[in-house]
């Protein structure tokens, strides 16, 4: 039935991750602004073909939420459906045309051996017309954009759903989806025992949060290794800052810097072999940028200036570092060769530009932009010099790009509470991510891992 368009996907994931998951709550995501005239699409709830109770995770609902969250689609409410097909041969395309949708997704979840599943789905372009070689083919084969059968282990249906979202998103936008990636962030809760800081990692949709570390002392500045297997971060446990690298699968960690003074702002190099960081041990009260070789532990000093030099970030090609310095009086962004040399000033708009983040293609730089006493996220196009303020908060900080470059996630304050927000690079889509209780801050969007 799904014959030639079915492509078998190798089992998605092997081996679960080991976590010290003890205390967590899920981030709730709200779309606060979507695109006017997003692509109208219908996703028919997938049919469970098994005899017993359907699986706990609703694949088509997760896919719907993924696509809606991007703000680029307008999902048709299922109460308006005229039919509920589960495979291409059952679709009457006239029905969907009359409802004004451009694209349609149908599918089914089938039981497989050992409690596993096979998720089959098809994506159709309602308006796709036949070409010469389509003569004699049924309508659904002509209009099909993608059709897959995805094997899924029992506990991996969410992951399978995100994988399906990635396929649909790529088909419809031409851009790689980031639904299967993860985010790290810091939560802060105020309880009876005082303030508790927690470093957490969750799926990009806020689900499956896991605690990496908790501490009564501040935790700061999480940075992903480029392969997504480790986090570097700053922890003040013991009353002094130190930089740690922690393996997410095993929990094992290394203390990589605990020098006198500041040990801050770790940033992994794109090749995974070096860590840029901020240290002040050479000259107390004077933070400078260094690069630490993770294999040899050799330190290379990058900046030489009595100003605050901090917040290094690597260009995606690994050839240069962008950092914050107040050498001109207030904080501005500078770029320097990764081997050192004379930094070049990049920002001239306003009196406060700090904490740069590169877009994955290296073309854009997101930053914290101060206007008077208000701080927003701005983006600088490095080629054209075009500078745009993207957000409208008062205390926006810690921008981080999605690995496909589509969205910028950042921290903000909403109703007196620390929350995360995301904005599309064109400013047209906005989301808010918040915890039921406590504050969340310092998001770091993880890399693609396949």
């Amino acid at each position: 039935m799904l014959n030639r368009m079915i492509r078998w996907i190798p089992a998605l994931l092997c081996g679960g991750l080991l976590w010290s998951a003890s205390a967590y709550a899920v981030l709730e995501i709200q779309i606060t602004q979507g695109i006017e005239g997003g692509v109208p699409i219908a996703i028919v709830p997938f049919k469970w073909t098994g005899s017993g109770a359907p699986p706990g995770q609703d694949v088509s609902a997760i896919v719907s939420a993924d696509l809606a969250r991007t703000g680029r689609f307008k999902l048709l409410a299922s109460k308006n459906f005229l039919e509920r097909p589960h495979s291409g041969a059952e679709v009457n395309f006239e029905n969907w045309r009359s409802l004004g949708v451009d694209d349609l997704v149908v599918g089914q979840v089938r039981p497989a051996a050992g409690g596993a599943y096979n998720v089959q789905f098809q994506l159709f372009d309602i308006y796709k017309a036949p070409t010469g070689q389509d003569i004699g083919k049924p309508d659904y084969q002509i209009k099909q954009l993608a059709g897959y059968s995805v094997p899924s282990r029992a506990n991996e249906l969410r992951r399978t759903a995100h994988y399906i979202s990635d396929i649909i998103y790529k088909q419809l936008t031409g851009q790689r989806g980031a639904f299967s990636t993860r985010i790290a962030y810091i939560t802060v809760t105020h309880g009876r025992k005082g303030t508790l800081y927690s470093l957490q990692v969750a799926d990009a949709d806020g689900y499956n949060p896991h605690e990496v570390l908790n501490s009564p002392a501040p935790i700061m500045s999480p940075s992903w290794s480029p392969d997504g297997s480790k986090l570097a971060y700053v922890s003040f446990e013991g009353g002094r800052p130190a930089i740690y690298i922690q393996d997410l699968a095993t929990g094992a960690r290394q203390k990589v810097s605990a020098r006198k003074g500041i040990n801050g702002a770790p940033a992994w190099s794109p090749d995974g072999k070096q860590l840029a960081l901020t240290l002040s041990y050479v000259d107390q009260g004077n933070p400078e940028i260094f690069v630490l070789n993770l294999a040899t532990h050799a330190l290379r000093r990058i900046t030489y200036n009595s100003a605050i030099d901090t917040e290094p970030t690597w260009s995606p090609d690994g050839k240069s570092l962008v950092f914050t310095s107040d050498r001109s009086g207030g904080p501005q962004l500078y770029q320097v060769d990764a081997s050192g040399g004379r930094p070049k000033r990049l920002t001239f708009d306003g009196s406060y530009n700090a904490r740069a983040a590169f877009s994955p293609d290296g073309k854009l730089l997101a930053m914290v932009h101060g206007e008077g006493k208000v701080f927003k996220i701005a983006v600088l196009d490095l080629k054209t010099g075009l500078f745009r303020v993207l957000t409208d908060g008062r205390e926006d900080e810690s921008p981080t790009f999605a690995p496909n470059g589509s969205m910028i996630l950042y921290a903000t304050v909403y109703k007196q509470r620390g929350v995360l927000a995301a904005v599309s690079v064109d400013g047209r889509v906005r989301q808010r991510l918040q915890l039921r209780d406590g504050e969340v801050r310092e998001p770091a969007w993880g890399p693609f891992t396949d």
Partner: protein
């Protein structure tokens, strides 16, 4: 612009917190060993004021009446927090005589140690604020050294905006949070 404000998912899996470790304890994943490559501080160094929210009050005398000026609430030494203007590390003129009194105390008590904890308000970027907090603490340290304290007596740690005394998001809170605290470590070393 359409304002959809649509709640797409509302799930709370875990109950926030509870049995995850007693206070004062740091829990890395699976309790795996920490490999130390940090060429760091010698163990046993004064380890900062650490966990409890910065102590700004005079230390209580351990056994009844104390004659130590540190325990005298009307001494200038009872003032241990110094405030700063936005994005500034300039010590206020009114704080200088108080810092001088601390310097004199340290000069006459060479076994006494302090930690200078630098703090900022929440505005701006976090790691830049760590730098700013250290610069503020450094400004106080220089005054202490200039007036008789020795280098060995003083440690500096910057918490940036991470440990506000007032968690509010307003001018009043920010003014309280832009500060350097002198934390005495009597008998610690």
């Amino acid at each position: 612009m359409s304002n959809m404000t649509k709640v797409l998912m509302v799930v709370v899996l875990g109950v926030f917190l509870s049995a995850c470790g007693s206070s004062g304890e740091v829990k890395p994943g699976s309790g795996a060993p920490v490999e130390d490559h940090s060429q760091g501080l010698p163990a046993g160094g004064a380890s900062g004021s650490g966990q409890a929210g910065g102590s700004t009050n005079a230390l209580p005398g351990q056994s009844g009446v104390s004659t130590d000026a540190l325990d005298n609430p009307s001494s200038p030494l009872a003032t241990r927090v110094f405030y700063f203007d936005f994005d500034s590390s300039e010590v206020h003129a009114s704080d200088r005589p108080i810092i001088a009194a601390h310097a004199q105390y340290l000069a006459s008590h060479p076994d006494t140690h302090v930690v200078l904890e630098g703090n900022t308000d929440e505005r701006g970027s976090r790691e830049y604020n760590i730098g700013l907090g250290e610069r503020r603490a450094e400004a106080v340290r220089r005054l202490l050294l200039f007036q008789g304290a020795t280098d060995k007596q003083i440690q500096v740690v910057s918490y940036g905006e991470e440990r506000p005394v007032d968690p509010g998001h307003n001018e009043q809170a920010w003014a309280k949070n832009r500060r350097v605290e002198i934390v005495y470590k009597r008998g610690a070393q």
